[in-house]
Amino acid sequence: MSRRIVIDPVTRIEGHARVTIELAEDGQVLDARVQVAEIRGFESICVGRPLREMPALTARICGICPVSHSLAAAKAGDLIVGAEPPPAARKLRHLMQLAQLVQSHALSFFHLSAPDFVAGLEGDPARRNLLGLHEAMPGLAVDGVGLRRLGQEVIAEVGGRRVHPAFAVPGGVTRPLEPSARDRLRARLPGAIAAAGRALDWWKGQVLPGRAEEAAHCGSFESLFMALVGPEGELSHAEGRLRLVNAQGELVADGLDPASYRELLGEAAEPWSYLKLPYYRSFGYPAGMYRVGPLARLNVATRCGTPRADRELREFRSLGRGAVLSTFHAHQARLVEILYALERMEELLDDSGILGREVLAAPGAPRSEGLGACEAPRGTLFHHYRTDADGLVTWANLLVASGQNALAMNRAVRQIAARWLGGARLTEALLNRVEGGIRAFDPCLSCSAHADGRRWLSVRLVAPDGRVLDEAGGVAG
């Protein structure tokens, strides 16, 4: 008689999800899956609406990374309306992406995950949150809140408001950056860089040393990694071409046009799952399984492209032989990316070109189809639209980062469950370990709950003996 454990809801993640774990009579973990019980149907509601509304409408997919959704939609729109954004607009779009990266990563690291490392994964649940963190380590909490705030304030200053700014539009952005705003923002970056450095020192000095066992059982398995990179292989969040590396860190493919994502990426259907599992088509399924996000970006990039972040990247790479495989290290990858983003924002703001007054190009020869891709905080994001002659959307396909990571996340949850739950008496603390692993993936369930999301709602992994479990009839607890 197998037993089913349900963790519902998984807390301190971005959205509502639950985990179902199947245990055999002897306590061995047979199966684990993360379920998202939400679908919002964006691919349906976009149809029939003007292309120009897509940046503002699809921003509502996610309150955490609205800037990325509106950027991807605007880039698809650039192609459809035939307008190449002026240089200043491209720089401003980049600045906004970086600001959002800082606020989103800060949220994941400080607000949601850090309490596990301060109060302890097995600490008092009532203290395991931002407010508890503030009592235990006020400096760290204030740094975290400050970094998130900086990201949000750059977004508000440049884009008009903190959440859901209407900024990137087909052909460019809605307004130029004023020199006074540039000066205000520029002055705050050194303090933020110092805060990011303190967090990295804390992580590497106080947290990481005792966590080898956790790291070894948190998504530590071979897979491909995919991200957009710049012309010299550097980190690139607003534009770029796709690159894939394997678990040994070797280049698998490079310079791929994201517009060909449908040829590059296949979606496998399994009889035991409603999930369509994305994979790199040339490698077939399941060898072509890949991960995206901060861990993938640091595995894929030749270098970050800014001095301090590059030093951190060299240190980060020593965590693995070849690619860094454990998603546990995504926490550190987020801090490195925060540091990178802040340094890069300094460079952008020091470039007088960012103050250019021409930020919106006139439409040219229209097309009926366009794809926009960017690196959202959680990984590569694709927005693909087709329009009719009147400029109304006839078809939309949105491929979000968390959906691409779903298979890896479910494997990781099973790995954690097998390591920590097998045969043990189940406690809240042990279950929080499972949740902690999910937090390392930083899944965004808002993003995943647009139409595609439901495809990975009930991922189910076969037991080691190959047995496929029946989903029905279980009882909680």
Partner: protein, 411 residues
């Protein structure tokens, strides 16, 4: 030259002048929507109704000529209620999603809602999706955002002289139509002058090239309105606060986090006992204040919300999805849960759709929170600003009913 009084003040207007002119001369703020200076009065929206001493019913100020000795009252409680209802019905009668509307920030309907204290819409129901007509090269018409004020019809006829636009159909099927029906793009009388777009009080008529750019306009600060809310008597020395995330994007929770350091300050006066931000699996008993983000879209949402209502003294509907359904409710006009599931799973290989019995069933119709449980306070916005949330929270934490004095806005 008629002499009359407006709210007790003596005014005079030109011969043939309207009651609305008299009201303006008397400094009375009478709201209007279908009225547009320079064209003939429409008299259709009924927002400018005023009371005239000796008459049994109110009269529309815009289309009534002033007469000698009139005694006009513009701001009775009955008129206030009436205007509130008109705006609420206009919202209920269309697809007014301010979140991504090109007119947001300069929309007269949005401003009326704010000024008249319309912070939610009582009436339920789903209206079918109305197709946009974007067949004109520069301009488009979204009938879902149209309030049938006919300002466009009047400027087209009386100012441009083209007489392209008119109203076709009757009752709830009435629509603005070009040349009596058919595609606007096929109209031979339209001169593409754009006056209709300039005259439109909402985002129904818009310039295609700037569809979503109006959103970046700065948010208005001068606002009015008030809210009567039961003040939570704290069940302990610290207020027990919960937050729920139903069908929404988490933007309202992000706005809550945008309190930044102020959130850490509030921590001394409250405990966050249930929220996506803390570790609690069960909605606890004796919650003083519960903030709800998102619309009610699944059976799970409904049962969680009902439990939260039973266990919370004050329940706040936070953000446009919770307050009016917003983007989350846009699945309903396009066919509801069934349509979006078919779109997500019906194409390509693999199973037809998720039939996992442990997944919550989607509701046939997405509902705002107050159509599922009783709501004590509404905070509209997509999302509501951190300042608005802070004003509400600090006032509730201090044991006072919040005076949000028109600081909210849809979208």
């Amino acid at each position: 030259m008629p002499n009359l009084t407006v709210d007790g003040r003596a005014v005079s207007v030109r011969p043939g002048g309207t009651v609305l002119e008299a009201c303006r001369a008397g400094g009375a703020a009478v709201p209007t929507l279908c009225q547009l200076d320079g064209v003939s009065p429409g008299g259709s929206c009924r927002l400018c109704l005023v009371e005239v001493e000796g008459l049994p019913r109110p009269l529309p100020a815009c289309s009534t000529r002033a007469w000698e000795g009139m005694e006009i009252a513009t701001s009775s409680e009955a008129l206030r209620r009436h205007r509130h209802n008109v705006v609420e019905l206009l919202f209920a009668g269309g697809h007014h999603v301010c979140a991504f509307c090109p007119a947001s920030g300069r929309c007269e309907l949005q401003a009326l809602a704010r000024d008249l204290g319309v912070d939610h819409v009582t009436y339920g129901g789903t209206r079918p999706f109305l197709s946009l007509d974007a067949s004109r090269p520069r301009f488009a018409l979204d009938p879902g955002r149209c309030v049938l004020c006919t300002r466009c019809v009047r400027v087209c006829a009386e100012v441009e002289g083209a007489r392209t636009l008119g109203v076709s159909g009757r009752g709830w099927r009435s629509r603005i139509a070009a040349d009596g029906g058919g595609r606007w793009g096929d109209s031979t009388s339209c001169t593409d002058c754009g006056k209709c777009v300039a005259a439109c009080p909402t985002g129904a008529l818009f310039e295609k090239a700037v569809a979503a750019q109006g959103l970046a306009h700065p948010e208005p600060q001068e606002l009015r309105g008030s809210a009567a809310v039961p003040v939570p008597g704290a069940s302990g020395p610290r207020l027990r606060v919960a937050t729920l995330w139903l069908g929404g994007c988490s933007g309202c929770h992000m706005s809550l986090l945008d309190l930044d350091e102020r959130l850490l300050d509030l921590a001394g006066r409250m405990d966050l006992v249930y929220s996506p931000l803390v570790d609690a699996k069960e909605f606890p008993e004796a919650v003083d204040l519960c903030l709800v983000e998102g619309a009610v879209a699944s059976e799970d949402h409904l049962s969680l919300l009902r439990r939260a209502r039973e266990r919370s003294r004050v329940l706040v509907s936070l953000g446009d999805c919770a307050v009016v359904g917003n983007v989350t409710a846009m699945r309903d006009p396009v066919g509801g849960a069934e349509t979006i599931l078919r779109r997500a799973f019906g194409e390509g290989a693999g199973p037809a759709g998720p039939r996992d019995p442990t997944l919550p069933r989607l509701l046939e119709r997405v509902r705002p929170v107050h159509q599922a449980v009783e709501v004590d306070l509404f905070l509209p916005g997509c999302p509501p600003s951190a300042d608005l949330i802070h004003a509400a929270l600090s006032s509730l934490l201090a044991g006072r009913a919040p005076d949000l004095a028109g600081r909210y806005r849809f979208g």
